[in-house]
């Protein structure tokens, strides 16, 4: 059962990723990325990481992708045709480097294949909200607070960067 679910989610994730980089429309790319992220959330569930699966759907599939779609809507990028060209050197070099990266990664994985253990039997208790929250708010309390500062800085920085006519205000 687990194998079939893995094959289903993995096929969906890879197909959505390929669809994302091959679709002509930016909105279609964003929606394919949502599908990919949700499939990866399913794989997190197979790995018994319940909390991260939910956070993946909420934060990645929800918040971040809505932000992307808002920006695509704001910029109103309809004339995408000139951005996708026919075969060129860029594509050849890109695919060549991609194949190199993939072969390196698969070589690294192949060297440890067969020696990796199965899913740990205690994983049912490790991936829960309770276990992760326990670790986050005791051992990792300081990093959580630093993350709060980071997110605040990101929000303020984004507002400042996206402000209209920032140079005019400075000049006046």
């Amino acid at each position: 059962m687990e194998t079939y679910l893995f094959i289903l989610f993995a096929t969906l994730a890879v197909a959505a990723a390929i669809g994302m980089i091959s679709s002509k429309d930016t909105v279609n790319s964003a929606l394919f990325l949502v599908l990919n992220l949700i499939s990866v959330a399913g794989i997190f569930l197979l790995l018994k990481a319940q909390f991260l699966a939910v956070v993946q759907v909420l934060v990645y599939g929800g918040a971040i992708m809505v932000l992307f779609l808002f920006v695509i809507m704001l910029l109103n990028l309809s004339d995408e045709e000139h951005m996708l060209s026919r075969f060129s050197v860029r594509y050849a070099v890109g695919f060549f480097l991609g194949v190199i990266v993939l072969s390196q990664l698969l070589y690294a994985i192949a060297s440890v294949t067969g020696t990796l253990p199965q899913i740990h039997p205690e994983m049912e208790q490790v991936g829960t909200v309770e276990a992760i929250g326990d670790a986050l708010f005791t051992v990792y309390l300081l990093p959580v607070l630093v993350t709060a500062i980071l997110l605040t800085a990101a929000v303020v920085g984004a507002l400042l960067l996206a402000q209209r006519n920032i140079s005019d205000k400075v000049n006046k």
Binding site: F6, L47, L52, V55, L102, I119, H120, P121, L136, R164
Partner: protein, 99 residues
Amino acid sequence: MEMDWYLGLSAVLFTIGVIGVLTKKNAIVIFMCAELMLNSVNLTLVSFSAQLGDVHGQILVFFALCVAAAEAAVGLAIIIAIYRNNLTVDVTRINLLKW
């Protein structure tokens, strides 16, 4: 289910992200490919965490998600600022630093 398959899937997703970053011209799509690469690394961390039965890998993924959210907000703001100045998000036309 062997762990190799999860790592292999993560490698394939990462490679698709790399190819997207190298071949696409639209800055927003390049940014989405970077998110895909971040996410595939998260998958690797979760699978190692699952095979060791250790919570620390998942905590690292949690912080990586926070950083990804901050990065998405700032990066999209930069893309909007670039669009205001150049009226394009085509990275081949943004060549101010080109030698």
